[in-house]
Subunit: 420 residues, 2 copies
């Protein structure tokens, strides 16, 4: 008496983000240290509208027409040059290797769709971006954690042994990609070192191009002081050859998320053409008006001007959050490091404290009126229970401080309960 | 030495649209009766920019923030009311059943993803929307043509026998949906009659909700004189119960395609929640700025005002095209009907003439400097070879007439070659 869903359809369950967002709507009294939203105060509504007026004054009717599936050639060309410039390399990055997507999320989805059948494996950092883990679950792809070093990098030596194990057990063909959140990671704030990237590419090169590298650089431009030193894996791969690299980032997270435009860069032509074929089926091209606006944002210098404002703003908020947490949370045995970019403080509770949605600590936090992202969502098997992702993206400084005090009160209260 | 793609990735080939678009870029001298683009002269750049300025004046920073995965509640509510009003029914259409997508294309993709595994079957009209056929091929889903009546409707009696055949052969569980392009169809211009919709829903009801109905209403609002009489299958289903109906249309095809916003309406809650889960993985929400703009476009009355202009404009262009074709093409044995809405004339050559990309007729048309969409692309098995989709969307009237004369010259030339 009802529909029989596809394997993909049958696999779907309510997402953790949806759960967080529904809760946030139901309880507006609860301050959110969970949302990865950006700061209202810095949103460039005035300047963006000026550019919209420029499009009108130029009579650029093309902005309101369909664009091409791969995306605006002018925008792709600006982005390829920008990436090359960030990587500080001479070799030319091809605009034909660049494609425009509905946020970096769609680029990641296409990359996984083209490579992974249900049951295949993508290797991830510990911790990693929880929305990517949700996507993998949705597609029936298994996320497997890579061994990590104390400095937060992947342990390439231990990973080599792990891959050897897969080769011996005959499962190596199921291992399709390594996924890195390589700059000011969501959630950990860690950036992947140059040495680590080199070691990973060298290791994967031994697998003859059968294991791809996904590099998610969403927060690369959101450094506070200076860019992180390591270039992208695109730059490093160029010298090494055989590892297919897919790089993606967002144009709108560090500008105006409401425009939802990202891009991908793929070193493997065949792979790229298959991603584009699927994009053709999903939407045959990202909104051309948004692409036209973002081309103007980039070429007018507004993008870089805005980034300078944002970096200062997020740095100040991070410091304000850190100060309140230092004064109120450190006593409860929690630890964290100050990030050098991005929107998150990644905090560790004493190891016996669990922070998941169903934990007593989470209940305490909600009672105190504050939300956060339970750290266990950021592990492929929820194997670490005592972490919390605390975002300083969306709240204004005063609210942020209040939320941090609430969070600390929950920690304190919970410590007391625990010792009773 | 190279990537092993997923089954989905391995299946991808260059698309027909991509082929058409690449050719169009290489040969700007060739006039396009192929593109389903809209008319530059009518694009509302001035008015849209005014609404962008209103957003600025209202200080609506939310427009530049992330929206929700399902889409703006206000926009969904306006759309649900609009659909209910078009259908002329009393029952309330739920905004919670409505979801915003990156064009209607993404809505269709989600509907197919949730229901169909590779090898499953979707039943389609003859002819049908060729981009949908491409999507099905990309997903490994088999499109099977339904028997048609002379009036252009599906033959529900013959379809009943066909379904019975599937039931007897044990393949009925692979039949997941019936796909209708129900108003001023791309390509045929045909609208599905009320009787046909009723008969189809009645037939499908006998299958206990296991076969869904997809209704693609992309051109519903682009009638010339008055709306087509039949309400949507959402309205008809309400009285009949068990058939899950998914309805989709675009907001931007009849306004400004560069904004790329569509929506879906789904009568089955479980199905909808699974589509939304996948959307969450693909992009977690359509660009919120575009949704904010379109909400204003709808509530300000601009959408309806613009539609009135468009209807007049397309009607005039259709008549101009029809006139030139009548004077120049009819003699060659070609036939067509004047559509009552939409952007296409669906023309039939004498049955012995093939019009496919590799046909002599196609070569003649390109030599004369005109492109069209070969009709065989619009059939699941390319079983009809002698049709052409002639679009009057994008060209201005004078160019359109010139293109039509070129097309007729090709037909004439080809007729001459044929008789030699």
């Amino acid at each position: 008496m009802s529909l029989k869903f596809s394997q993909l359809g049958a696999r779907q369950t309510e997402s953790d983000i949806a759960r967080l967002m529904t809760f946030a709507l139901q309880r507006p009294d609860v301050l959110s240290l969970a949302a990865g939203f950006t700061d209202n105060d810095t949103l460039p509504l005035e300047k963006l509208t000026k550019l919209a007026m420029e499009i009108r004054d130029e009579g650029d009717l093309g902005a309101l027409q369909y664009g091409s599936n791969q995306g605006s050639p002018d925008l792709r060309s600006v982005l390829a040059r920008r990436l090359q410039c960030q990587d500080g390399v001479d070799s030319t990055y091809g605009s034909d290797r660049t494609f425009i997507t509905n946020g970096s999320q769609q680029a990641l989805y296409l990359a996984v769709q083209t490579l992974c059948d249900a049951g295949d494996i993508v290797l991830v950092e510990q911790p990693t971006y929880f929305v990517f883990l949700e996507m993998l679950r949705g597609l029936g792809v298994k996320a497997v954690s890579m061994p990590m070093r104390a400095n937060g990098d992947v342990d390439a030596v231990a990973l080599a042994l792990m891959l050897k194990g897969y080769a011996e057990s005959g499962d190596i063909d199921r291992v399709k990609a390594v996924y890195l959140v390589s700059y000011y990671s969501n959630p950990s704030g860690h950036s992947v070192s140059l040495d680590c990237k080199k070691a990973l590419l060298e290791l994967l090169a031994a697998y003859d191009g059968r294991i791809a590298l996904f590099e998610d650089a969403a927060y690369r431009e959101l450094y506070y002081d200076r860019p992180f030193e390591a270039p992208s894996c695109v730059a490093l791969q160029a010298a090494r050859g055989s590892v297919p690299v897919f790089y993606t980032t967002t144009l709108t997270k560090p500008f105006a998320t409401g425009l939802k435009v990202g891009y991908g860069y793929c070193t493997d032509e065949d792979w790229l053409s298959r991603m584009l074929a699927i994009k053709g089926q999903q939407d045959f091209g990202t909104a051309n008006y948004n692409q036209t606006l973002l081309l103007k944002v980039l070429t007018s210098g507004l993008f870089d001007e805005h980034l300078r404002t944002l970096r200062m703003s997020y740095y100040k908020k991070m410091m304000a959050l850190d100060e309140v947490l230092s004064q109120n949370l450190a006593d409860c045995g929690w630890t964290w490091e100050r990030p050098e970019g991005g929107l998150y403080i990644w905090a560790s509770a004493p190891p016996e404290i669990e922070t998941g949605f169903d934990s007593k600590f989470h209940a305490s936090a909600i009672e105190e009126g504050v939300m956060y992202v339970p750290g266990e969502l950021c592990y492929s098997e929820c194997q670490v229970k005592c972490k919390a992702r605390i975002s300083f993206g969306v709240l204004r400084t005063e609210q942020l401080k209040q939320a941090a005090r609430r969070f600390a009160r929950a920690a304190k209260r919970f410590s007391l309960i625990k010792t009773l």
